[in-house]
C-alpha cells in the first residue's frame, strides 16, 4: 500500500518504518549516555550497546560486503560512544542523532581507507561530533497558517491577490481567463455567476 516513490532520490534504504507509532525512548537513551559520561557506568553502556549495536551492524552490512568490516563499524562506533559520551549534550539534540553521526563518520573513514587508501580520518572535520546539534527552531513564519499573512494578501487589490495566491493554487484569475478566451472581463464574471447559480440549483442549497 505504501508506494515508495522513486523520483526523490533517497538513500535511507535501511531506515524505513511503516508506522509512526514505534517510538524510540529518547529520554532513556539520553539518560544512559549521561551515566556513561558522568559515572563511566558499564551497565548503562551495556544498555546502549544492546540498543544500538544490532542496528549498526545491520546498516553496516548494507554498506560493506565483508562481515569483519561491519564488525569494525560496530566496534569503532560504540567505542567512540564510550570514550566521547561527555561530548553529548542532550539540549542540542537526540541521542540517536549523536550516535548516527558517529556511525556515519566511522563508516566514511573506513570506506575511504578501502577506496582511496587513505587513513586521514577526515570525517570528524567534515561532520564535527561535538557540534552535531539538532536543528534549533528558526524564526520561520508559517506561511500557510499565518493569519496575518492571509490578511495582508486579502487586503491587496484583487489582481495582485490572485497573483500571490496563484503561485500556490495554480488557479487562473478572472482576468487571465478573460484574456485567454478573448472576452471582456464583464462577460466572464457574468458567465461565472450564471454557472454557479445553475450549479447551486442542481446540487441543492445544503452545500453552502
Amino acid at each position: 500500500m505504501v508506494a515508495i516513490q522513486t523520483n526523490l532520490p533517497t538513500h535511507v534504504s535501511h531506515a524505513k518504518s511503516s508506522s509512526m507509532t514505534d517510538k524510540i525512548d529518547h529520554t532513556q537513551l539520553s539518560a544512559w549516555l549521561k551515566e556513561v559520561a558522568d559515572a563511566r557506568c558499564k551497565i548503562a553502556f551495556t544498555h546502549l550497546f544492546k540498543f544500538f549495536a544490532p542496528k549498526i551492524q545491520r546498516i553496516a552490512r548494507s554498506k560493506f560486503p565483508n562481515e569483519a568490516q561491519s564488525h569494525e563499524v560496530v566496534q569503532d562506533t560504540m567505542s567512540n560512544v564510550w570514550r566521547k559520551a561527555h561530548l553529548f549534550d542532550s539540549d542540542k539534540g537526540a541521542a540517536t542523532t549523536w550516535v548516527y553521526t558517529i556511525m556515519r563518520n566511522v563508516t566514511f573513514d573506513i570506506l575511504r581507507k578501502i577506496k582511496s587508501n587513505r587513513e586521514d580520518n577526515l570525517s570528524d572535520d567534515i561532520w564535527p561530533i561535538a557540534e552535531s546539534a539538532a536543528a534549533e527552531e528558526q524564526p520561520y513564519e508559517d506561511h500557510l497558517e499565518n493569519k496575518q499573512l492571509l490578511r495582508v494578501i486579502e487586503a491587496l487589490p484583487e489582481t495582485q491577490q490572485e497573483v500571490v495566491k496563484g503561485f500556490y493554487l495554480m488557479e487562473m484569475s478572472q482576468e487571465q481567463l478573460a484574456n485567454h478566451l478573448n472576452l471582456p472581463l464583464g462577460t466572464i464574471k457574468s458567465r461565472l455567476r450564471l454557472a454557479l447559480a445553475k450549479l447551486k440549483v442542481h446540487l441543492g442549497e445544503d452545500n453552502d
Binding site: Q5, E145, M170, E171, H180, R191, K198
Partner: protein, 190 residues
C-alpha cells in the same frame, strides 16, 4: 487493498488538486521540510485545506507524491507534487513538532477514469492555456489532452471559482456535472 488505511503527514493548503493534477510548492518551514523528508519513505503526503467545513461531508485531501524538486532562485526548496488520489481523512493527530498526520481511505473519483473521446473545444483551449504558461507547461510533461476526464479535471482546478464550490465535486458531483460547469464557462454550451 483499496480500503486499507495509511498514516500520512498533512500539508495544510487550500489548493484544489484532483488525481493527475500537479502543482509546485515552496517549502521553507522546518516542520514541512521534515515532512518532505518523511514523505520519501512514507509514500507521499496529503494536501488538505484546513478551511473545509466538515459537516455534512467529511474532510478530504489530495494524496500527492513528489515528482521533482529543486532549489528556487532564493534557495528555498521547491517541490513538484502530483496527486495520485483523493482521500478521506479519518483520524487526524498531531505528532512531533505539530506536524499533523491523518489516517486515510481512498476515494474512487471520476477524474481517475480514462476514455478517448476528444472534447475538441475544451482540449484545444486547455492546451493553449498550457502553452501560454511556462510553469504549467513545465509541470505537465505529458498532457493527456485526449482523455476527457483529465481535461475536465484540469479545467476544474484552473477555473476561478470559489473553493467551496469546487469541493462539491469531491463527494457529491459527477463528471457530467463538472463537464457542464466547465463548458458553461469556457464555451457557453450547456
Amino acid at each position: 487493498m483499496t480500503n486499507k488505511t495509511t498514516n500520512l503527514p498533512i500539508f495544510p493548503l487550500d489548493v484544489f488538486l484532483l488525481p493527475g493534477g500537479i502543482t509546485r510548492l515552496r517549502i521553507f518551514e522546518a516542520k514541512y521540510l521534515k515532512m518532505v523528508g518523511l514523505s520519501s519513505t512514507l509514500g507521499g503526503f496529503i494536501i488538505s485545506s484546513n478551511k473545509q467545513q466538515h459537516e455534512p461531508s467529511s474532510r478530504w485531501g489530495s494524496w500527492v507524491e513528489i515528482i521533482n524538486f529543486d532549489n528556487g532562485d532564493d534557495g528555498v526548496l521547491e517541490i513538484d507534487v502530483k496527486c495520485k488520489s483523493l482521500v478521506e481523512l479519518t483520524m487526524v493527530e498531531s505528532e512531533i513538532d505539530n506536524l499533523q498526520f491523518a489516517s486515510i481511505s481512498e476515494i474512487n473519483h471520476w477524474s481517475e477514469k480514462q476514455s478517448s473521446t476528444h472534447l475538441i473545444l475544451l482540449s484545444e483551449s486547455l492546451l493553449s492555456v498550457f502553452e501560454n504558461n511556462d510553469l504549467l507547461n513545465d509541470l505537465y510533461s505529458s498532457k493527456l489532452i485526449n482523455n476527457p476526464y483529465w481535461v475536465v479535471s484540469r479545467w476544474l482546478e484552473l477555473l476561478p471559482i470559489p473553493h467551496d464550490v469546487k469541493h462539491n465535486f469531491v463527494f457529491n458531483s459527477s463528471y457530467v456535472e463538472a463537464k457542464k460547469l466547465v463548458n458553461s464557462i469556457i464555451s457557453k454550451e450547456i
